[in-house]
Amino acid sequence: MALNMWVFIEQDEGVIEESSLGILSKAREVAEEGGGHVTGVLLGSNVAGEAPRLGRYGAHRVIVVDDPLLAYYHSEAYTRVMEGLIRERNPDILLASATRNGRDLLGRLAVVFNTGLQAHVIHFEVDGEGSLVGHVPGFGGNIVAVVKNVKGRPQMATVALGVFRAQELWGEAEVEVLRGRLDPSKFKVRRVEVVRRETIDISKSKRVVVAGMGTGGDLKLVGELAKILGADIGVTRPLADIGVAPRDLQIGSTGVSLKADLAVVLGASGAPHFVSGIRDVKTVIAINKDPEAPMLEYSDYYAVGDLFEIIPKLIEKLKG
């Protein structure tokens, strides 16, 4: 069955979201098994130059829609452009990264097309009837639902971040560039300001020191330990809630999943939404007051005590 698979390539001000490339590579693998075709769909402003290289990651073809209003994600503009393209070309499958923007876009498009949308899948394939089958993790990642689309076209799924690695195995893509011709006066949402800090992508960090509520939100000591270990800093959700650190450093099911060799987890109890984010960490060391907190189950080494007493001594020893 020759399936026409589309992958939404997310970008922001010309910078391509790397998780989109991993989806392209996986989609190409799935397409090659079933004789399908992969199209990358790239919306942006002056981004056509990025298009040919998307072929190397798996796109047979890239459709670029160029418009100044598409420079960054805008829910109405993106929905309108995608809706028009889908009506015209009728893809069988549409995939996007499960970023905030990817969920926002597909969440809306699924209703527009009255079709099925699977959420943050960690695996996907196409069955003999051409139905999209995905693995949707739930309940802290310990249970996976095998979900199948049974109605509507295109069949949609958002793909969990960092699951599929971008692989440079293929050639350049055929590129088609379209003009957006969007009229800003038609939109009801308008960006008036954007504030961005330099942040690091801790999903790629080799070592991470994670601050939980037990640190009281004091990142000074955490930072000192991180520095001596050559580690980056992450936080649990409550600390991001109180604004101690940006959401980009939040670990767990609503944040980042670590792939580190080492995580040192300080003052975290081990809530399900958090521990799903440290599943793939090689070695987990925790320090916590509570000798029986759930975190013990998810640790290789679990030190029981006051982290404000232990850490300064630990830093001293590591220096020596």
Partner: protein, 263 residues
């Protein structure tokens, strides 16, 4: 004066108390404590703050079984003016498509709204798909992952949306839907006297599919566009679970030894 502020609400089992039976491959939620979905509580608080500042009526709408009634009364005790529970056996098994349809129909029936607030996602499903879905059915703009809302003038609001690396400030015309970020505010406690009133005297509105003009085929398993074929257990990685106890000095010594051995 603001028109209605509608808040969608779900009741979810506490994730840490859900048990998965790996033999029967079923999820047992019966022993788990239920709670208002945490992000929905943040949405309700955001709605109440808008009401405190700009007026309007806060109406909670929920789709679920009759046993959710006490949770809706809790929302009333927190300060919501009215609550609607859409309850119908035919809704069982609904995926996000019929769920957003049903909620959108109920919201239309309530009518006269300026703002719809939802939690960013539920703690059990975690898809975040329902909020933009509701807005799509209603044909109104939506903004997801919102942590602040202010009304700048009649018919126009300014909202703060979390994006990668920071946030953006967007201006949006009413009526619109915003999904509220988990943990972005501190939900207020229920008022004691209001709680007593809610429990004893408040009359919850209960609507069925027929009240919304929906057919059973449009919702539930039949109306869903996805189906769960099976459940698989994904065992957490094996950990050593070695407890280290002793004086801070001893613990630090042992941790330093372990950390050095890793490099």
């Amino acid at each position: 004066m603001m028109r209605n502020i509608i808040v969608t609400m779900k009741v979810t089992p506490k994730p840490e108390e859900i048990v998965f039976d790996s033999v029967t491959k079923t999820i047992d939620r019966s022993k788990a404590t239920n709670e208002i979905n945490p992000a929905d509580k943040n949405a309700l608080e955001a709605a109440l703050q808008i009401k405190d500042k700009y007026g309007g009526k806060v109406i909670v709408v929920s789709m679920g079984p009759p046993f959710w009634e006490p949770f809706l009364k809790l929302a009333i005790a927190m300060g919501a003016d009215d609550a609607v529970l859409i309850s119908d056996r035919a809704l069982a098994g609904s995926d996000t498509l019929p769920t957003s349809l049903t909620l959108a129909r109920a919201i239309s029936k309530i009518g006269d709204f300026d703002i719809i607030l939802t939690g960013e996602e539920s703690s059990d499903g975690g898809t975040g798909q329902v909020p933009p879905g509701i807005a799509a059915w209603l044909g109104i703009p939506h903004v997801t992952y919102v942590s602040q809302i202010e009304i700048v003038e009649k018919g126009r609001a300014r909202v703060r949306r979390t994006i990668k690396g920071g946030y953006e400030i967007l201006e949006v015309e009413t009526p619109f839907l915003a999904s509220i970020e988990l943990g972005c505010n501190t939900p207020r406690f229920p008022d004691f006297r209001r709680k007593r009133w809610a429990e004893r005297e408040f009359k919850l509105k209960v609507w069925t599919l027929a009240d919304l003009g929906l057919n059973p085929e449009e919702v539930g398993f039949k109306g869903s566009a996805t189906t769960v074929e099976s459940l698989l257990e994904r065992k957490p990685p094996e950990r050593l679970k070695r407890k280290i106890i002793g004086s801070p000095e001893d613990i630090a010594e042992e941790l330093a030894r372990i950390l050095r051995s890793l490099t």
